[in-house]
């Protein structure tokens, strides 16, 4: 299906949903604890959202390493998700 969102779109939407911020604010450089909205609660919701969306199981190091949008891409790539 050509209308299926791309992995990049899915990633942006996961961040926007769990951090409750507009998609336009989700840039590559967006990082943990740099905006008030990305606190520990939002981080946990984000991890759950990413695990569901991409059907992956992140491990402890992945979860604490996932400190920016860029880093999220790198980690998901390790699990076979391409961007």
């Amino acid at each position: 299906m050509s209308n299926e969102p791309t992995n990049n779109e899915k990633l942006i939407s996961s961040f926007a949903t769990s951090l409750v911020i507009p998609e336009s604010q989700v840039s590559e450089s967006l990082a943990y604890n740099t905006i008030n909205e990305w606190d520990s609660t939002a981080h946990m919701l984000l991890i759950a959202e990413l695990e569901n969306t991409f059907n992956v199981m992140l491990d402890t190091d992945d979860i604490i390493d996932l400190s920016s949008v860029n880093k999220a891409k790198e980690i998901l790539a390790k699990h076979g998700i391409t961007f």
């Binding site: 409750v20 946990m44 919701l45 759950a48 402890t60």
Partner: protein, 469 residues
Amino acid sequence: MTDAARPYTFVHRLDRFGEHPAYYLPSGEVISYAYLEKLVEKKEKRLDEIIPVGSLSALSFSTTLDNVVTYIAALRLGRALLLLSPRLSEEGRTRLLKKLKIAIFINADGTVVETGYTQNVRRDCALMLSTSGSSGSPKSVMLTLDNLHANACAISQYLPIVNEDRAITSLPLFYSYGLSILNSHLYKGASVLLTEAPVLSKLFWNQFSKFAISSLSGVPFHYQLFRQLRLERQAYPHLRYFTQAGGKLTQVQADYVKTLSNQFKIPAFLMYGQTEATARIAYLPPHLLNTYSDCIGRVIPEGELLIRDLDTNNKITAPYVAGELCYRGPNVMLGYASCARDLSLNERVSELRTGDIAEQLPNGLFRIVGRLSRMIKIQGQRLQLDDIEVILCKFNVPLCCYGMDDLLIIGYVGGDNDLAEQITHYLRESLAIHPSFIKVVKLDSIPLLANGKVNYQSLLLAAKESLSC
């Protein structure tokens, strides 16, 4: 005063533990008890110069050595100190300042602001803790040095804290639970790693391993987080026990605590308490974790727990009969202070009404079955619904709040089309509540009971309806 005449509590004569480490700092620096004693003596002199006798000062309490030294020095000097979250908004700070007439603000970086207020704080009030950390509600708990000492002593009797232990500051120190870890380790001459690294950071877990931390403490939210981190798969040979407090665990969280305890083969202590009782009131002996994780357990040493009938106030002794949980003990606060006048009163609470409804099992364990007060916890953060109603007055519409743990419900009438969003946004900005825990519903009118009071059950129903559609 000669050394011998000095009152001897957990904050005095710190050099009796000699060169044993009191604090580890993330830089690798080690602060011995002997050196800590010197730092505190120096700080006492400084505080004596800047804080007028009888006045109230406030410390924006970050997890740094300098802030900890200030806290200990103020206790020794006998100057009442209010502990504040370093993240408290300017608005909240101003509200507190006016209400409690705070004379001196000590910022987290050590700078001092004099406000010009004077006070006549009762002499036995050593420390004040906020009842809801971040909302800037002036309602605070007044504690004595004896309260702190007694609770630290009781805690170190039921927790296996030993001299060689190294705890980590996984909780903020302005919060009674976090502070109780600091106090009980000081009481025992044990060590604490003072780190500001958030629990959800790589730095925290690196330090956790590097400093061979011996105990891990968290509120239910932390155990949810540990579960998501899949902590049970890690190897921490230095870890000796877990503690949990700050609210009732859900079934899933309780099961996870059992998993952690079994996997690491170490005990986990579920604990119950309130800031009004300095910190701890009861604990579940860890060998009962598998069968009684829904109980708060038994009372701490030197304390007494009782259940009172909600109507007659009589003591209930029969098992499985619910009533209000009440507590007596040397750690019960002097009382609340919401304004400057309260600070000079002479009364003292003899029996603490916890606001929780509990029953006792035939084997003596206590179990919480409900709550009387209008208080909820969002991710472990205590919120008074009445305070939220006051804070939201700024939107100038009729509104009312209700809720349960992890769900704050706000009903309002009229206003702009995007008012619900504005309210959610404001609560997130000012109180750091994630929008997923807030439900704002527009009502035709505020539902009232026949007696004119707000019908909160009807608000709950309205929220449930809008959640399901």
